[in-house]
Amino acid sequence: MKVGVLALQGDVREHISSLIACGVDAVPVRRESEIQSIDALVLPGGESTTIAQLSEVFGIYDLLKQRIASGMPVYGSCAGMILLATEILDAKVGQKSFGGLDISVRRNAFGRQVDSFESDIEFADGSHELIRAVFIRAPWVEKVGDAVQVLASIDSHPVAVRSHTALATSFHPELTGDHRIHRYFIEHVARPALEKVK
């Protein structure tokens, strides 16, 4: 499986290391041909307004939107979650997302950087083991569509959600050296979705 990490801005390197640790081929992608060549995509942490804008400027916005809509497995952390949302609350005027995950996301919902925090959370992967989650100016999910499952919450705000082909987290597993979320994406989202297509 070849997984691309959208490399317009953000913590691309950390996602690539986590994916490689999960045993998949991981590459940064910025160009049309690179995006065409991948089986699955990760949208990294970063500044969602900057990433969305650069994707338009460099003419890959439509391609990304279309590949995600047609079922390419995708995982987004923090800014990546915002970029996957069908609705963005507290968005910059005119801010676009790629869509693909039927959720409403509130940007910077947990506050400014002084409110950024880490915490142990329960992630519903069936293991009942806690995950150390790092939240940085993080968004939360306010509304989920029928086909979306909530995998983790903080104070009743969903912070990890999935559909058949998409996974999104408000937090940054790529910063902790704990690869369980990436492995979950590979084994429980991307692989089943790709096998179904075959």
Partner: protein, 295 residues
Amino acid sequence: MAEVTGTGRVKRGMAEMLKGGVIMDVVNAEQAKIAEDAGAVAVMALERVPADIRAQGGVARMSDPDMIQKIQAAVSIPVMAKARIGHFVEARVLESLGVDYIDESEVLTPADYENHIDKFDFTVPFVCGATNLGEALRRINEGAAMIRSKGEAGTGDVSNAMQHMRKIGGEIRRLSSLREDELYVAAKELQAPYDLVKEVAQTGKLPVVLFTAGGIATPADAALMMSMGADGVFIGSGIFKSGNPAQRAAACVKATTFWDDPKVIADASRGLGEAMVGINVADLPAPHRLADRGW
């Protein structure tokens, strides 16, 4: 479920999210919006850009809280602000305003010529300037969660930024080549804590994100810094002291992302109008060189 704020991971992680981006100096809400629209990953709110501080002289201090809050209200991207070196009360004020990052900056007039701020004592993260590896590690030892090479702010002359990036990179490469029993003396020579020196020798990089700053005025300047190994770029006077700030800002963002693609940089460089006029660093008398502040 205990939620812990202000941890090293949260502070350093915030800088990781800015990687590959451009942070722009802005003096009012209107400029902040232009920067956000151009794709800046953050803005630095300050009353006078370095070029004006240089031209007008006098003591340069923390900005008016009103002005910072107007900028915070105007944009959704992170807002940084500058405190004077060693001025921990200015830093407390900025923290209370909820700025996302504090730049303990040599561009302002230092408040303490011996000590920097104890940055571990704050919830808000700090970025500090450095001209060499020893200085960078001393700042990290005081709690800096991000480093920027200093360059010579407010000049539009990129030569000092280049010199500082080469120096930091060269010293890191040298450490990686040393035997473990040579690192003690290396730490002494760098005037930096042994543990940090050892960590850099093992990983071959700084333990925090390294941006570059000072004198960057064109898309090609930004790309040059990225190709020297910078994780991202601060642009101060270069944007809003130029002929067409919106277009130049967007062009610098493009060139920072596609720093390794000369065609993209060429396209971004077309028809930008006048760049800031600039001052050659060599023409600046030594007392007016900001990069020498900090130790």
